[in-house]
Every structure is written in C-alpha cells, then in structure tokens.
C-alpha cells in the first residue's frame, strides 16, 4: 500500500534507485486475512522483523535502514530523514565527506530524541479526543475493499513505530563506520517479532529494539519541549548542545509546524 502511494513513489523515484529482494518464501503468502489484520490494526506503523528497507551507496555501504511497514505519511518522513543523512554524509558523487560521520551521528541523535518526544505526545493523547489531533496527519486508506478510518486505537500502532524509530536512531547515533550490507542484511534492529519466515527463508537474527536505551532516559538535554508552541528553530539544536553542522532544514517537520 505504501509504495503505491503517489507521493511516496514520486519521492522514491526522485531521490533513490529502488530494488526489492525476496529473502525467501513466506508461509503467509497471499494470505489476505493476515494482511487485513495488519491493515486494520497496525496501518500507521508495524516495525516487524519481516521487512527491512535499506538505504545504501552503490558500493554497498548502508547509511540508514528501517524495519517494518509504515503508512505513507510516516514512511515519507523516514525517506526524508534518509535523504538528509545522505547529504550530511556524502558529496554529490556519494563519496564520504570529511566530517560526514560526525554530522550523521548528530543527526541520528537528534532524530532519536525527537521521535521519542513524538512517542511521548502519543502517550499523552490516549485520553479524551487527543487522538484526533495526532491522527489528523494521517489520511484514511483503502486496501482491497477494506477501509481504514483512523481512531483512538491507532495510537498504539503509532506509539510502537515512534518507539522503534527512537531506539533505532539511538543505535545509529553510536555509529563508528558505515556497515556493509552483508553485515546488517540479516541482523538489523526490529520492533516486533512478527515474521512470515518459512524453513526456506533466510532468517533474521534476533535484535529487539526494546533492548536499546530510551533516548529520553539518556540524561541528555531534550532539544525542545513537547509543547507544540515551541518554535521550530529550537528543534534544530543538536542534543549535544550545538547547532547541527549540516545546516539543513528540519525536513521531518517533527517540530509540528505546517
């Protein structure tokens, strides 16, 4: 569903060369009941180990990845984050820039904190009509005759996605060098254990994001209040207390501005 979204497709085609790879047959292949179950209950974010999107150089160096499936609105933010990392790390020819790794670490650190703050906003929206404001960023969707209208129950899915993204970027913020695809292809951080792997599928190693530290518990200063009224510029401060060296705009729009 995500890749058939026109905005996602246009952004992918403009910024990436796309390929997909089947790591093995799944025992749920063509089982619509499973797909409908995920579509109904976890459309916004489902960080399953079953799927992983890798962002990499033509030379095979991975500079970002995300496990699972996401609604188009959230996946677009993931894509924009990857583009920002690409600009921080590499020159026009995709050669590593001097200071690129440090800039990427700072970006990941900031992303970890801001996704964690988004998670906190979702947690606080569970009472009353708070879900309406959170879910207003997401369009309803249809899939093979089934329509997903967002409701209060969608907050749990979104919270799991934000929690995963926060901990994923927390891990990336400790980046020492860019891994080769073979190093992470079957050993990546995931958010839940759901998988369609059969005996013939190459398995993915257990690497649960819950074991990663929570950025909000790190003791680092928060880049901004969870209050939406905080100016966007406040979100552009790295959590190391310095302004981001990339000088790039907050393309993720995590500060809530429109």
């Amino acid at each position: 569903m995500t890749f058939s979204d026109p905005q996602v497709a246009e952004y992918v085609n403009k910024n990436f060369v796309a390929a997909w790879f089947n790591r093995g047959p799944g025992f749920f292949d063509n089982d619509l009941s499973t797909e409908r179950w995920i579509f109904s209950g976890s459309l916004e974010a489902y960080p399953t180990k079953n799927i992983c999107t890798f962002f990499m150089t033509p030379g095979g160096k991975v500079f970002d990845y995300v496990a699972g499936s996401y609604a188009p609105e959230l996946f677009l933010k993931v894509l924009k984050s990857a583009v920002e990392l690409r600009r921080a790390l590499f020159d026009e020819s995709l050669a590593l820039k001097e200071g690129g790794l440090e800039a990427a670490r700072t970006l990941h650190e900031t992303r970890a904190m801001t996704w964690a703050i988004e998670r906190e906003k979702v947690q606080k929206a569970h009472s009353g009509d708070g879900w309406k404001r959170i879910m207003s960023d997401f369009r309803p969707a249809a899939y093979r005759g089934q329509i997903h209208q967002h409701n209060a129950g969608c907050l749990s899915s979104l919270e799991s996605g934000y929690d995963y993204l926060a901990r994923l970027h927390e891990r990336w913020s400790r980046l020492k060098e860019l891994p080769d695809l073979d190093q992470v292809r079957y050993a990546y951080l995931w958010g839940n254990t759901f998988t369609e792997e059969s005996a013939q599928s190459t398995p993915v190693a257990g690497d649960d994001s819950k074991k990663e530290p929570d950025p909000l518990a790190s003791g680092r200063p928060r880049p901004a209040s969870v209050d939406d009224t905080v100016p966007k510029s406040a979100m552009q401060l790295g959590t190391r207390g310095v302004r981001l060296s990339t000088g790039l705009p907050d393309v993720l729009n995590l500060s809530g501005g429109r």
Partner: protein, 75 residues
C-alpha cells in the same frame, strides 16, 4: 427509455447529495485504494542493476527486503 435515463440521472444526483450531506464534511480526503506495488516506483530487477543505475545517476539505493513477493504482499 428516455424516462428511465432521466430517473437514473436524478437517482445519481440524489446519491451525490446524500453523500455530501453525510460524509463529505467529515471525510475531506478520499481514501487511496490499492493499485499494485510495482506501479509508481521504478523498481530495478536486481540489486546489481540498481547499483549500475545508482552510479550513473549518483543516487543512493533503496533496497526493500521482505519475505514473499512484493507484487502480491501488502506493503
């Protein structure tokens, strides 16, 4: 026959009015239906072919790895 066509037109108009009255204001955006995953995104046939084009176009690669067939799965 002409009367039948007129009746159909008026029924369609009434349905539109009812839809507008009931759901239009609540549902500003029409849901996007499933169209097939290979549409829209220009997928290369293999990672090697993606690498070749990525070098030529100076773009990074997006590699989507899953269990199953992207043409059939709900991703």
């Amino acid at each position: 026959m002409r009367a039948g066509a007129m009746k159909q037109i008026s029924m369609a108009g009434a349905a539109l009015l009812m839809a507008a009255a009931s759901g239009w204001s609540q549902q500003q955006v029409k849901p996007v239906d499933w169209k097939g995953y290979t549409r829209g995104v220009k997928w290369e046939k293999s990672l090697d072919e993606a690498k070749t084009r990525a070098v030529r176009e100076k773009k990074p690669i997006l590699l989507y790895q899953l269990v199953g067939d992207l043409n059939k799965e709900g991703c």
